[in-house]
């Protein structure tokens, strides 16, 4: 699903954001991407949803080679990914329902398909009752659920989360994290960038740690190779 091979990424003004990073995330796998701020977590995710290109090395996601892909293919890749962020990135002038529907509308889906799928994912994240609410009327946790619903509505095979609980209190964090686990349980690969070590320690999921742009620890190869699956090592 995700495979990075000897990836380097240079900052525009010099210096390296990523140094020789390689890892593989198999279909249906869950992994944390940890490290301090500036360690390169967001850079890895940006490469994965083709917001950025690697300076060298190879990035493969859902069958696409990000390193070589043409600009026209980027939207196609993104429709197969679900991405959520710390700041939710919802449109303020649209209701929860409209925000979710938006992701389908841009793909040119039919209206009947849109409304039934929107209701289904909002129910899945537990927000069906607040479909008509605007983001400002929702709590942080609820806004993140809307963002998750939006990310799910295209039925992604890979789910990327960049500090999804960074702005949430403990209770909301648990709720959102549980949602991500449910998504993973239904067969979607999840890569969650976080620096919330408590969350990481509560579970036995694979942990990939970055430090100053370099991969310094990967429990998928260091400890539990059977969980990492066939592609755990590089």
């Amino acid at each position: 699903m995700i495979k990075l091979t000897n990836v380097y990424k240079a900052f525009p003004k010099g210096g390296l954001a990523l140094k020789d990073v390689s890892f593989h995330l198999a279909k249906g796998e869950f992994a944390f991407l940890t490290g301090h701020s500036g360690a390169g977590k967001s850079t890895v995710l940006k490469l994965l949803y083709a917001e950025d290109r690697p300076t060298s090395g190879e990035v493969r996601v859902s069958g696409y080679n990000v390193t070589e892909m043409r600009p026209r293919e980027v939207p196609q890749l993104r429709r197969r990914l679900g991405v959520v962020f710390q700041d939710f990135r919802l449109l303020e002038d649209r209701t929860a329902e409209e925000n979710v529907a938006f992701a389908l509308e841009v793909t040119g889906a039919r209206r009947s398909t849109i409304s039934s799928r929107v209701i289904r994912v909002l129910t899945q994240v537990g927000l069906a009752a607040k479909a008509a609410a605007y983001p400002r009327e929702l709590s942080g946790g609820e806004q993140q659920r809307v963002a998750i619903a939006r990310a799910l509505v295209n039925e992604p095979t890979v789910f990327l989360a960049d500090e999804p609980t960074g702005n949430l209190d403990e209770r909301a964090t648990r709720g959102v994290f549980q949602l991500l686990r449910d998504i993973n349980a239904s067969g979607t690969a999840v890569l969650m960038a976080t620096h919330d070590l408590d969350l990481v320690r509560q579970t036995s999921y694979r942990v990939i740690e970055l430090q100053e742009g370099a991969l310094v620890f990967d429990s998928g190869i260091d400890e539990t190779p059977e969980r990492a699956g066939a592609g755990g090592g590089v």
């Binding site: 600009p71 890749l77 993104r78 429709r79 449109l91």
Partner: protein
């Protein structure tokens, strides 16, 4: 498609002042083109009327016997360029003058004898009304011994034609200038709309919208503003036309086709302005 149309309309609500500015600029540029266009249309009409009346008049020497003139009339009617030739007696000339130049009626009354010569009025066939053919016919008429002088409306035709060309040229130059300004202003308002919606565009991209899809509402929005500007220009032109007709002279307004062309041109200006701007600024947000 639905989303595209909705987005395009929402733009007017988001930035009503900027939208109004774009619409007005397009309207004024097209209004200028329209005013000169009206002048050209009406000169063209006048020209057609004059051209229809292009006649060559041969004035006869006093005392020319009627038999000689009648024979000449037959010859002249046989010219390939000639549609009809009419003999006008001295008396007919005088009464026509009295009728058409009523201002001088008193002077005519005081006349002791008729100063007007008899004449032969020659009308030409449609294909032969250009200066060369008129000149050729006039030359042949001068060949008759009893023809004193030949007059025709060539100067008049050329003057009107010249005016029409000037009106068209000035209209095109000034109109093009304004159209360029309109494209720039539309481009700027679209650019501001793109920047204002940078966050939204980023989100659209994130969920897999193609650039073509993101561009569509802006293009539609531009074309819509242009169409509105075109309609406004037609309205302004019509008001101007009403004023001219009431206080100056009987004029003619645009044909429906010409009106549609003006609106279409407005839509084109809006579309082009948006296309240039959106293509350039989409990359930056």
């Amino acid at each position: 498609m639905n989303l595209v149309i909705r987005e395009a309309f929402i733009a007017f609500r988001r930035a009503p002042l900027l939208s109004a500015l774009s619409v007005t600029t397009i309207a004024f540029s097209l209004f200028v083109v329209g005013l000169f266009g009206l002048v050209a249309v009406n000169l063209q009409r006048a020209l057609r009327a004059v051209a229809e009346r292009v006649e060559v008049v041969a004035y006869l020497l006093p005392g020319t016997p009627i038999e000689a003139s009648t024979l000449a009339l037959k010859d002249i009617e046989a010219f390939p360029e000639v549609a009809s030739a009419t003999y006008v007696t001295e008396e007919q000339a005088l009464s026509k003058a009295k009728r058409e130049l009523a201002e001088f009626r008193d002077q005519y009354r005081e006349l002791e004898r008729n100063p007007l010569p008899a004449s032969i009025e020659v009308r030409l066939k449609p294909g032969f009304r250009d200066p060369q053919h008129v000149e050729a016919v006039a030359d042949r008429l001068r060949g008759f011994g009893f023809v004193e002088d030949v007059r025709y409306a060539r100067d008049w035709v050329e003057k009107v034609e010249g005016l029409r060309r000037i009106a068209t040229a000035v209209g095109l130059v000034v109109g093009t200038g304004f159209a360029v300004v309109a494209v720039i202003i539309i481009g700027t308002t679209i650019r501001m709309a793109v920047l204002q919606r940078g966050r939204e565009i980023a989100i659209m991209r994130l969920v897999g919208a193609t650039d073509g899809f993101i561009r569509q509402p802006f293009l539609l929005q531009g074309a819509l503003k242009g169409t509105l500007g075109g309609l406004l220009a037609i309205g302004l032109s019509y008001a101007a036309y009403q004023l001219i007709t009431r206080f100056l002279l009987q004029a003619e307004f645009f044909s429906p086709q010409q009106g549609l062309a003006i609106i279409g041109f407005g839509a084109l200006i809006g579309f082009v302005g948006s296309a240039i701007s959106v293509g350039r600024h989409l990359r930056r947000v």
